[in-house]
Subunit: 352 residues, 2 copies
DNA sequence: GTGAAAGCGCTAACAG
DNA sequence: CTGTTAGCGCTTTCAC
């Protein structure tokens, strides 16, 4: 049934041109006259020909394989929606540009992770890799990969100044600021911040934004309580418990991602608190989690799919030979107002 | 910096044997004496040599690329945790067995989807593909792929008798039966079933199991209300609204997956119903969603990661030349009791 | 047991 | 503008 697949030589023969010309047409090369190009394309269609990616790669065209490196605690499957959205965006773009995407989930706390990533990426002959937090800021990893000739792009790298990879993401500082301002405008004055692990620079920037909003409102740092977790539902719950044990307790919680916010919500429910009447909770990311929980989360939308797609475009352009300094492409974010954050109870309504 | 990667010839030279011998060692071929094998392995280690997968594949060793075909409404990202768990399981197994996994998300309702899948899989020269519902039961797709020489495995194919692909999954009929029995034991008598799309055979089997449990309890079909959705949070909510508008309304809802159960939960909350006091809700799959919502869902656990891994093993064994009829590997499921389902209110407590 | 030779299908110089 | 000539790094016959 499945007769041998047509090769480039079959196409060449059928269209009566040389093999090289076919190759040129296939790769949008220059120096092909329109009629010839058309003839070749016709033959390609007639034979239902597809290039053999392995052969192309062997011959020097590059493997056209990209790797997406995702942090995950494997069995905990944290933040699966975040990863999925990124992956979906990346995979779609890959499809368009003819790349193959392989996804690697790596435990973020595993000390051997770095070596493991470099290992896979290079043994698969990946031409490029997309790093996600917290790997986006891992200099060792970045250099290891670079040394092996792998082109890189990072999702939400921290980067205050020194850009060591091309990156894409939102303005995290502004995102943090905006969500905090939203809460402040609702009259909240004692706010708890549920952060992520310390190495996660973009989440740190969110916190800086929150702090700025507090300052702008004339509030001292004391009214902001900060605790760090690890972005999981579980840690969101844990931290919330501690926050609620304080007195006076915060009237609003800003979480570094939606999963932690969901954890916060659960603990609130378990304690019989009404959200948002007794406690306001805000998330970050606007993953489907924020719509699935009750009440739906007020959160900051990150265009994750667009970020994944853009990351592919960035590496692809470097693979294509683009030169120049590393840069960061900022995509827009928005505060999505749902029902988990409301007017502060005991405080007089806010400034502005 | 990055000097040329060592090739098989470098290894051959260093170990003082022929290229063929090295290849034999690398592929566990026969006819290599132990001391020679050891020498070769030493050289491999010394040079930090890795086979070039593209070259191997060109030469005839097979591409060692597997595709995982996932249904998704793309922008809706339904059931992302389900897909992630499967992918994670598959990807881990691939890593062990040296396969490369590429993931394809395809809109399940797109009429062109089938062609699109066949297209990608064959143009990437995948040796095998793993199908997930509802593609697991798509005869056209299965045949199309087979015709191109692609080996297959399916996650939760429907299969009442005719097995056209190797499959792995739980006993869905029993799963449906068990969760229904749990609810019946809690005293529920009017039960609503929120099903998935009709073509999703494994979900249909769940429903059959529910029906059997009802019959065993001596209940007529009338006390079971069935409506179909599409496995999304949104459709779970929609159906729940309609179910709650009936009178008398069901006291318990069994959902075909956790996402729909989360949707049901939201509607219940929005209507001011207490769960489980006023309404019991059960999910299916035991994805992280079930722990994230409030109250956490009583659901049926499917070993999704194990299923993904097993699917890879199944295709891989077929690629390896395994013959024999298609079969289905049943993995164990369990009812996970959490807090979304409780004692029925108005009914007298049940028959054992 | 082991090695030499012949490609797999393609791209990349290099000539015309 | 187009074709010819070499390989890319590996697996496979097929001899030895």
């Amino acid at each position: 049934m499945s007769t041998r697949k047509p090769t480039i030589d079959d196409v060449a023969r059928l269209s009566g041109v040389g093999r090289t010309t076919v190759s040129r047409v296939l790769n949008d090369g220059p120096n092909v006259r329109e009629p010839v190009r058309r003839k070749v394309l016709a033959a390609v269609a007639a034979l239902d020909y597809r290039v053999n990616p392995q052969a192309r790669s062997l011959a020097g065209g590059g493997s056209r394989v990209l790797a997406l490196v995702l942090a995950s605690d494997l069995d905990a499957e944290p933040n699966s929606f975040y990863a999925s959205a990124l992956e979906l965006g990346a995979v779609r773009e890959c499809l368009q540009s003819g790349y193959q995407l392989i996804t690697r989930h790596v435990p973020q706390d595993d000390p051997a992770a770095i070596r493991q990533i470099v290992e896979t990426v290079s043994s698969q002959r990946c031409q490029g890799a997309i790093l996600t937090p917290p790997f986006s800021d891992n200099a060792e990893l970045i250099e290891g990969l670079r040394a092996r000739g792998v082109h890189l792009a990072a999702i939400s790298p921290g980067g205050d100044g020194l850009r060591i990879v091309d990156g894409v993401g939102i303005d995290d500082e502004a995102g943090g600021h905006d969500i905090a301002r939203h809460l402040l405008n609702l009259g909240h004055r004692r706010i708890g911040y549920l952060g992520g692990i310390a190495g996660h620079l973009s989440a740190e920037r969110r916190l800086e934004g929150v702090r700025r909003a507090m300052r702008e409102t004339g509030l001292s740092g004391e009214t902001l309580v900060v605790e760090r977790g690890d972005f999981t539902f579980r840690s969101g719950g844990l931290i919330t418990s501690r926050m609620l044990d304080r007195s006076p307790r915060p009237t609003a919680l800003i979480c570094a991602n939606d999963d932690m916010a969901a954890g916060a919500l659960s603990v609130a429910h378990a304690r019989g608190l009404q959200v948002p009447a007794d406690l306001s909770i805000a998330g970050f990311d606007d993953t489907p989690v924020s719509a699935i929980v009750w009440p739906p989360l007020t959160t900051v939308h990150q265009p994750l799919k667009a970020m994944g797609g853009e990351a592919v475009r960035l590496v692809s352009s470097r693979i294509g030979g683009a030169q120049g300094e590393c840069f960061f492409r900022t995509l827009p974010h928005t505060v999505v107002v749902r029902e988990s954050a409301g007017q502060a109870q005991e405080t007089t309504t806010s400034t502005t």
